[in-house]
């Protein structure tokens, strides 16, 4: 019973991190129609920025905010100066470019920050919460993770649904030419989309790093699982991303605990294939009438 509970709680926190990462992918997809594979190393770079700030003696929260701002800036810079050149071209060009960025950023982090494992602090306790005699596998930081991701999801839904900027971002992504004719500054919207996505990516990276070990490759598996979660929920839907992340986190945690940890990656692949075969648009896909 205790194992069931703890495995579920572990899956919940992990699922929330996948969800955060899936949210970042959804954000970029909605605002630029590009799947950004460089999301993981971008986010990883910002955690190392946070670690540098914390090592310099500042508090965790200053490091946290600096990392988020660094994410924002990095996303904007990469869109404006690198990705901009392939936007509007064939989609495969953008995909290959983000894969290339993946490698470059990785190498950059190894050169600048070194390649060893380092521990990353957590702002809350990393002991499980004690209920009577037993300790349950949920830490203060785990609760923070859940809350933070839900808040971000709410903000994104609100941004796209209720704000003018959100509407303009969607318009620029769906049809840049028409949007431009209607007076939307398309370039600026694309930059904003990347910046916000990178910020959410940084958040995911900070959440998974807290109270654990980091090294330049530590986000690589997360990008894969985040991608599966995003596809599971439908690349278009923030709510779908969170639900997808949760489902994936729980499934993988149970697979690891009851079937064997060597099957985790295989299970993720199985889930991805099942979704693509049965509901290619994802669980939360919008009606297909838009495709005329």
């Amino acid at each position: 019973m205790q194992q069931l509970l703890n495995t579920a709680l572990g899956g919940l926190t992990l699922g929330m991190v996948y969800a955060a990462f899936a949210l970042a992918l959804v954000l970029i997809w909605r605002s630029t129609r590009i799947v950004n594979f460089a999301q993981a190393p971008m986010a990883m770079l910002t955690t190392f920025v946070a670690l540098t700030v914390i090592d310099a003696g500042y508090s965790y929260w200053i490091g946290f905010v600096v990392a988020l701002l660094a994410g924002l800036a990095l996303g904007a810079v990469i869109e404006r100066f690198v990705v901009r050149h392939v936007e509007g071209g064939p989609e495969i060009n953008a995909v290959i470019l983000t894969l290339g960025l993946f490698i470059v950023l990785h190498a950059l982090a190894s050169v600048v920050f070194g390649n060893r494992y380092r521990s990353f602090p957590a702002p809350f306790g990393i002991r499980g919460i004690e209920v009577g005699e037993t300790t349950i596998g949920l830490t203060g930081f785990g609760i923070f993770t859940v809350v933070a991701v839900l808040v971000v999801m709410g903000l994104l839904v609100a941004l796209f649904r209720f704000t003018d900027v959100g509407l303009r971002m969607r318009a620029s992504a769906f049809n840049p030419e028409v949007a431009r004719l209607l007076g939307v500054k398309v370039g600026r919207m694309l930059t904003l989309g990347w910046a916000l996505a990178a910020l959410v990516g940084s958040l995911a990276a900070l959440l998974i790093a807290g109270g654990s070990l980091v090294h330049p490759g530590y986000m690589d598996s997360i990008v894969v699982y985040g991608f599966v979660a995003a596809v599971l929920g439908g690349l278009d839907s923030p709510l779908g991303a969170v639900v997808g992340g949760l489902l994936l986190g729980l499934s993988l945690s149970f697979v690891s605990g009851y079937l064997g940890s060597e099957l985790v990656a295989l299970a993720a692949l199985g889930i991805l294939m099942a979704v693509l075969l049965l509901r290619p648009g994802g669980l939360f896909a919008q009606a297909q009438e838009r495709r005329v």
Binding site: Q2, S110, Y117, A122, G128, G137
Partner: protein, 446 residues
């Protein structure tokens, strides 16, 4: 070839022929440079005044903490020997390549070392999955593959199949037996959980443990290296009621299992393999969580049990440690001396012994024969003798159980030796643990 430019074809072709000719000439000349005027066959990687060797190590990535220090220790010892004139007049030229603990990269760098750099021997190549990817290649190419830095049985149990490969450290099965016997004797009522890496490290260790405590094991979990979430595994151990957990895992996973247990409120007696129990390294990984949760530094593993086959840096009275300190002061960089560097130096010491045993006319076959004939009698830093013979290429045969107290590794038992399979465990009678280094620090020279 199709070309639109017919005008330039002829001279270009001529130029190409010239380039090819020059290249061919260079090759021929280069090949000539390698043969000896006397007409004797040369040994690859060996000249009159040098011998070139190589090794693959994870200098980056998951397995880099700790392990990346091993080649720095070995390098320091080779430099120390070179400064004293080398072995048989030859200096040791040691090349280290980074494989990031990725078997694909191990193949690439090994190809480079063997085919391009033309090393005489591979020495100390690190890791079970990584070295497993190149061991057949090295044997096919007949390159001596000495002192693999891994305790898998695969290196030494069948010399007929891998005649060029030798193990060095105590193998994981023997270690499992020593641990199993200790637990059966000292914790007869313990409910034992096993935390195993999902490869030879875990499998060989388990094979040894099962011989002694098969009926005490209540749960066995395996983690995949690279997946840092071990909560489901630790949770399974906890709910099985295990009160003593034996881990055959790498140092990063010692840290992760400690962190996760803290999160789940799981407090068994821990017993880690020698491979995963370096308190200084694990402590440095855990140090950031010291605020109230984990004791800082090396003391975070206090009371944990492990095994030991080499003296460690904190054994201040050990003559070997005094030697390693001297070597490190003389040849090392400004980093502190660690147990991983000690491991590298001890391994280099054994290689120097092998070179000496192989004699002045160094050949690849010669060094293998010398190890089979004399390796079992080498006196060195290991607490137990090597198993080297015609029938076995397994490394050192024994170890002792110890407990951690800060950075100190305190012996709990005498040295016990055994061999793989169901051979019994016996107290060591060779006094290998009392061997002292020669004053010069170089084997065989006073």
């Amino acid at each position: 070839m199709t070309t639109h430019d017919t005008r330039g074809t002829r001279p270009r072709r001529r130029a190409r022929a010239l380039v090819a000719g020059v290249a061919l000439a260079t090759l021929v000349l280069g090949a000539c440079g390698g043969t000896r005027p006397e007409g004797g066959a040369t040994t690859v990687g060996v000249t009159d005044d040098s011998v070139k060797i190589g090794g693959h190590f994870p200098l980056t990535g998951v397995a880099a903490p700790g392990y990346s220090e091993i080649p720095t220790g070995a390098k320091a010892y080779y430099d120390y020997v070179n400064a004293a004139g080398g072995v048989n007049g030859r200096t040791i030229d040691y090349l280290v390549r980074d494989d990031g603990y990725d078997p694909t990269k191990t193949s690439t760098v090994t190809n480079e070392l063997v085919l391009k750099e033309k090393i005489f021997a591979m020495v100390g190549g690190l890791g079970t999955p990584t070295h497993g990817a190149v061991v057949d290649f090295l044997n096919d190419e007949e390159v001596p593959d000495l002192f693999v830095s891994s305790g898998s049985l695969a290196w030494g149990e069948d010399p007929a199949e891998k005649p060029w490969t030798f193990g060095w450290q105590t193998d994981y099965e023997s270690e499992g037996k020593v641990i199993g016997q200790y637990v059966a004797k000292n914790f007869p009522d313990a409910k034992v959980g096993l935390f195993l890496q999902d490869d030879d490290l875990g499998a060989d260790g388990e094979k040894g443990l099962q011989q002694y405590i098969g009926d005490q094991v209540v749960e066995t979990v395996r983690y995949t290296s690279g997946n840092t979430d071990v909560a489901p595994q630790i949770s399974a151990l906890q709910s099985s009621g295990a009160d003593l957990v034996i881990g055959f895992n790498t140092p990063s996973y010692t840290a992760l299992s400690q962190l996760t247990s803290l999160k789940l409120g799981f407090k068994p007696q821990w017993f880690y393999t020698n491979v995963g129990s370096d308190a200084t390294l694990v402590g440095s990984l855990l140090s950031r969580f010291s605020e109230g949760a984990v004791k800082g530094g090396a003391s975070s593993l206090d009371g944990v049990l492990t095994t030991k086959y080499l003296d460690t840096v904190d054994d201040a009275d050990s003559e070997w440690i005094k030697l390693w300190k001297k070597v490190w002061e003389q040849e090392g960089d400004d980093q502190p001396l660690t147990n991983y560097r000690v491991y590298g130096m001890a391994q280099a010491y054994t290689f120097v012994q092998a070179l000496q045993a192989a004699g002045k006319d160094l050949t690849r076959q010669g060094i293998v024969d010398a190890l089979e004939e004399q390796g079992g009698d080498f006196e060195g830093p290991m607490v137990a003798p090597f198993a080297y013979s015609k029938d076995s290429h397994m490394g050192t045969t024994g170890m002792r159980v110890a407990s951690l107290d800060g950075a100190k590794v305190v012996p709990e038992t005498e040295v016990e030796v055994t061999e793989i399979g169901d051979n019994p465990i016996e107290p060591d009678t060779s006094d290998a643990g009392k061997d002292a280094p020669p004053a010069s620090g170089i084997p065989g020279q006073d």
